[in-house]
């Protein structure tokens, strides 16, 4: 447990006792006997797979459950001394702030200043105190320059901060966040987490943060609460959580913890810093781990030494990692026959989009060639031009200069899969034998009679992909390029596994697969090549192992821990630490390693 505990007699920021809840017309309960106390000023991460009840618990804490959603509730929930079941969300608004996964859905005003001031205005605060509160929260979140901006001109990261500001402007005792980083690039995501930590420390706001990408937020947390099937299955400190996850639910392990597990190093690290410190201390006490200097030595033509690391599993030796990297699982790039047409050909591509004042250069002279069978991750911060590149290739946008062609055809799945689902029955979206074949290909043949809106996020994603590929999934009809734009938003690792398997299948069938994503761990899992865009130009293009281990923000957690070229996944890292041959872990699925089969 964290050091912050509720003192006897003190009012907890959140307290739930025996809380049970079922949504209307839902056969299974969403929350089962949840008992939880969050102390004032505590930073708690809420972990768990999709559908485990995290969002429902947050909604119960802010009063939306049951006041807005209806349903049946039992037990007690209190927020800063207020009975959340008796009080509505409006009355709780002064004590609790809530930020949803998609900030777009919770912005109601047209300008940022008005949006942030709305809760105070509705509360009846006088204009002067309203203005001061807006100014102060804008300063705290570093967005004073946005106050006069229209909300529909903001980037995803900016909008997320505005939503957070609107939640914090009433100075609540508790702030609840439901996967706030799912739409953010690694830079913005990290910034948001540390911003929350700073507010937590300086303002004393208790934070309850539901998140799938635990590697991003665990180091900032005082405590982790894990849920499964609506019940709390773990409640303790982050380091204890990692130990529990290793035994009970490896899907929740962070990559660094997974690396240590595979390498047999204890204790499991909470974040990159702890992992590096542990490896340093091991090196100091023994012969040392692969030192950062190895990188330079590699670059000079090969490893100068093979340092030995004493671990619980015995001494391990770093090994050379030619090409993609040690223990590489991802299939090496397929060399296209000479003269074969590329799946995607982009030459000197420049695209302008109309902005606030004038057209804005989104892409500036991009060149790119992707061949059939390649699996490419297209990465870059928000607004770097990833989606624009894919839309231009699909003919949805016209370039001002250059060209983007997909000679073998393109199937593009845009960011919101719901846009592809316009009917009320899955079978009606994909009629006939061709539709059945498409559903079978994505593993949704059992859902033909379901309403698309009742499917889970991952299933909707697969259904939308089936809609784009229907009638061209086999042989000659298969498009040369399948492009997916941010397909992993809000997905847990189990659903990402499914997606990786689908990508593998499409690539094996001969299609090039290009995925625009912010998720570096996912990219390390499926991609053989990474193209990094920055401000409309290509700033890096190379093997995934090289690109994802050569930086800080666009690097996997394992790469940041080990700082070894080409080592980006826990399996590769463990092989490097263990001094085993590169293929040691190659027969195991990266995203479905031992212990995760049960997902």
């Amino acid at each position: 447990m964290s050091e912050l505990t509720v003192r006897p007699g003190a009012v907890p920021a959140l307290s739930a006792a025996g809380l049970g809840y079922s949504y209307p017309r839902s056969p299974a309960p969403a929350l089962v006997d949840v008992s939880l106390d969050v102390a004032p000023g505590e930073f708690v991460v809420l972990a768990g797979r999709s559908g485990s009840g995290k969002s429902t618990l947050l909604r119960a804490a802010c009063g939306l459950v049951p006041h807005f959603h209806g349903g049946r509730i039992e037990g007690e929930v209190g927020v800063a001394g207020l009975d959340a079941i008796a009080c509505g969300p409006g009355e709780l608004a002064a004590a609790v702030g809530y930020v949803a996964q998609d900030p777009e859905t919770q912005v109601v005003s047209t300008t940022v200043g008005a949006e942030i001031g709305l809760p105070l205005e509705l509360r009846g605060d006088p204009p002067a105190s309203r203005a001061r509160a807006v100014e102060e929260v804008a300063l705290a979140l570093a967005i004073p320059h946005l106050l006069d901006r229209a909300v529909d001109t903001l980037s995803g990261g900016e909008l997320q901060r505005v939503a957070l500001a609107a939640a914090l402007v009433t100075r609540p005792r508790l702030v609840l966040l439901d996967e706030p980083t799912s739409q953010l690039d690694p830079v913005s995501g990290d910034e948001l987490i540390w911003l929350l930590r700073r507010l937590n420390e300086e303002w004393g706001v208790a934070v309850l943060l539901a998140e799938h990408r635990l590697e991003r937020c665990l180091a900032a947390a005082d405590r982790v609460v894990s849920m499964a099937a609506g019940a709390i299955v773990f409640d303790g400190a982050p380091a204890e959580f990692l130990g529990w996850a290793r035994a009970a639910d490896p899907a929740l392990e962070t990559p660094a913890a997974r690396l240590f597990s595979l390498a047999g190093i204890d204790p499991l690290p909470v974040g990159v810093r702890a992992a590096r410190l542990r490896l340093t201390s091991l090196r100091a006490s023994g012969a040392g781990t692969p030192a950062p200097s190895t990188r330079q030595a590699e670059g000079a033509g090969g490893p100068a030494c093979a340092p030995v690391v004493p671990t619980a599993a015995g001494p391990v030796t770093a090994v050379p990692h030619p090409g993609k990297g040690v223990g590489a699982r991802v299939r090496p790039p397929r060399r296209p026959p000479v003269g074969e047409q590329p799946a995607l050909s982009v030459a000197s591509l420049s695209v302008e989009l109309v902005g606030d004042e004038a057209p804005r250069d989104v892409l500036r002279g991009v060149d790119l060639r992707v061949d059939r069978g390649e699996r490419v991750a297209l990465m870059g911060r928000n607004g770097a031009g990833k989606s624009t590149l894919l839309k231009t290739a699909a003919g949805l946008l016209d370039p001002v200069r250059g060209k983007a062609e997909a000679p073998g055809g393109i199937a593009l799945l845009t960011q919101n899969p719901g846009d592809f689902l316009v009917r009320e029955r899955v079978g009606d979206e994909l009629p006939g034998p061709v539709g059945e074949a498409a559903l079978h290909a994505v593993g949704l043949e059992h859902a033909a009679d379901a309403d698309p809106r009742d499917l889970s996020g991952g299933e909707r994603q697969r259904l939308a992909l089936a809609v784009t590929l229907a009638g061209r999934m086999e042989g000659e009809a298969l498009p040369g390029l399948v492009a997916l734009d941010e397909p992993t938003r809000g997905m847990d690792w189990a659903r990402k596994d499914d997606l990786v398997a689908l990508i593998e299948r499409l690539a094996t069938a001969g299609a090039a697969v290009v995925v625009a994503t912010h998720d570096v761990e996912f990219a390390a899992g499926f991609a053989e090549r990474v193209v990094l865009l920055g401000d409309g130009v290509t700033i890096a293009d190379g093997p995934a192992g090289e690109i994802l281990s050569g930086g800080w923000y666009f690097a996997t957690e394992v790469a940041r821990v080990l700082d070894l070229p080409g080592v980006v996944t826990p399996e590769q890292g463990a092989a490097a630490l263990a001094g085993r041959p590169p293929g040691e872990f190659a027969n195991q699925r990266l995203t479905n390693p031992p212990g995760r089969e049960g997902r």
């Binding site: 005003s109 300008t111 008005a114 509360r123 002067a128 001061r132 949805l396």
Partner: protein, 345 residues
């Protein structure tokens, strides 16, 4: 994609002015358009609206409004020419048409249609400038004391209509990306999906409003007593008055004045015969001094959103001169002791 008429915050006088002042100013131009038929006056009012929009930085909105306005004006001209056969100057006889009977195109009918079309175009441009330059949140905040819930509903509409337009564009794009084996997407399923999406958004917005405290009874903002406002501004309670609290603007007077002058001139012009314009049986457009004066005044009124350059003293010739002994000496009062000589290095 943003609507060309969407409000974009810019640092201009029209944007800084209170909604009332902006409405008074742009509304005066629209009143002139509906009060007058003389095409010269209408053209001058249109020029004033275009000028105001360009000076306020709403080039995109003005361009879009002109495109739509001219198209509408042309449509009105054509329809008027087809259905009205009055006038002495016959340009063409088109024979018998179904429903319309004998169609005769006259120059007078064309000009009459042009006058009506110009009127519509002026109103459209003025509205476009209003839409692009006046913050809807401020308008609605001004209206809230009168009708809080209606104002909030209007806020949501002004926020969600562009969102629905963006949704529709995305749905159209997705429809074009469907595979050949997927069901065809007609307009009806698309419209249904758009409606369902809008309802989902409405639910999200309702939840957000709940979380913001909309359901509270005490939600209606109380207008503080003027003296308590002043105390708050002066900082007696430690409160400052940042820009969000500013109720008025230093530009308000300019726009109220411009609007009042335009209205007064329009009324005086009516009395003085500035609206001389006969179409039937023959065209007679008044170009007397009253008409021309009114036109000139209207065009001048279009300059109201112009940003004045701040007065500055002549800058020193070079950055080095900024701190030169001469420059420093010029800033010292006449009674100040003379500066000591600094030896040159």
């Amino acid at each position: 994609m943003r609507s060309p008429f969407a409000y974009i915050p810019r640092p201009g006088p029209l944007q800084a002015a209170s909604p009332g002042a902006a409405v008074a100013y742009l509304g005066a131009l629209v009143v002139v358009a509906f009060l007058y038929s003389n095409p010269l006056v209408l053209l001058a009012a249109g020029a004033a609206a275009v000028l105001a929009g360009l000076l306020a930085g709403a080039r995109t909105a003005v361009r879009a409004a002109l495109r739509m306005g001219v198209a509408l004006a042309l449509l009105i001209v054509v329809v008027n020419a087809l259905v009205v056969d009055r006038g002495q100057t016959v340009l063409a006889r088109l024979g018998g048409w179904p429903l319309l009977g004998e169609v005769t195109i006259t120059a007078e009918a064309l000009v009459a249609g042009l006058s009506i079309g110009l009127r519509a175009a002026v109103a459209m441009v003025a509205f476009a400038v209003y839409s692009a330059c006046v913050d809807p949140d401020r308008v609605l905040r001004a209206l809230r004391p009168l009708a809080g819930r209606s104002a909030l509903t209007a806020t949501l509409v002004s926020r969600l209509v562009p969102v629905a337009a963006a949704d529709a564009a995305r749905l159209r794009d997705a429809a074009g990306l469907r595979g050949p084996g997927a069901a065809e997407v007609g307009k009806a399923p698309l419209a249904r999906r758009l409606l369902a999406g809008s309802l989902d958004r409405a639910v999200d917005v309702a939840a957000t409003l709940e979380l913001r405290g909309y359901s509270l009874e005490r939600g209606r903002p109380k207008r503080p007593h003027r003296s308590s406002q002043r105390r708050a501004i002066e900082g007696k309670k430690g409160l400052s008055a940042p820009k969000a609290f500013n109720r008025g603007s230093r530009f308000d007077r300019r726009f109220y004045l411009a609007g009042a002058v335009v209205l007064a001139a329009a009324v005086v012009g009516e009395v003085a015969g500035a609206d001389e314009f006969e179409v039937y049986p023959a065209i007679a457009v008044g170009t007397g001094p009253a008409t021309l004066a009114l036109c000139a005044l209207l065009v001048l009124a279009g300059l109201a959103p112009r940003r004045r350059r701040p007065h500055r003293r002549a800058a020193p010739a070079s950055p080095a001169a900024a701190g030169s002994p001469k420059a420093v000496a010029a800033l010292r009062g006449p009674g100040a002791a003379p500066l000591p000589e600094v030896p040159r290095v």
